[in-house]
């Protein structure tokens, strides 16, 4: 089975991209939140429950520069989400067999 990296760049409040991703992502795959997708990483937002439900079987990452741009450096993230920079983004793409963007 191919190891998949899921890219989500839409706000969970604006679109259902994250919900679809969480519903269809195979256990053991990874989810990288970028652009407006980073709002899904916030622990105090209402969307946190859906991410928390798959924390055990998916690996979650969030792109740091997009977090900083949106003023969220001091806003708590969901426990277990790793912050990566652009280099880390590249590493994730290389480590996975397939990258899928949930546009």
């Amino acid at each position: 089975m191919n190891k998949m990296l899921h890219l989500v760049n839409k706000s969970p409040f604006d679109r259902n991209a994250l919900d679809s991703c969480l519903r269809l992502a195979e256990a053991g795959s990874s989810v990288l939140l970028i652009e407006d997708g980073v709002y899904a990483a916030l622990s105090k937002a209402e969307s946190a429950g859906a991410v928390g439900d798959r924390m055990e079987d998916l690996n979650f990452y969030v792109l740091g520069p997009d977090v900083s741009a949106r003023g969220l450096d001091d806003t708590p993230l969901i426990d277990g989400i790793s912050v990566v920079d652009y280099g880390g983004f590249v590493d994730l793409v290389v480590e996975h067999d397939v990258a899928q963007s949930w546009l």
Partner: protein, 130 residues
Amino acid sequence: MEPWEEEEGPEVVKRFMYVNRRAPYGTIYALECLEVVLVAAAFDQDVSVVFVDDGIYQLKKDQDTAGIGMKNFSKTYRALDDYDVEKIYVEKESLEKRGMTEDDLIIPVEVVAADNLREIMAQQDVVISS
């Protein structure tokens, strides 16, 4: 009076409301709407600006866009006061859904519940949403 001469009448002031519903940076809507508001305010109209849904993220403090190579326009919201745009509303329900409070915002706003915002919206002559 010649046909090309305009009749001097009482100046018409309309109530304009700008409704911001998008997060900044992911799309161009937030920046474009801010620019439109600043232009409209220069024409001495009755302008109010509303932030609902992901639009409230436009006002989040501490934005630092150095890492994404885009212009940080969040400080421009502070200029609204200089343009005498003083009616700035944030919907209470949108804040709560995102776990945010008034303290998270870069400018002073009036936090209003949807019930109140509905009434304010109903009083407008022109509503522009983005």
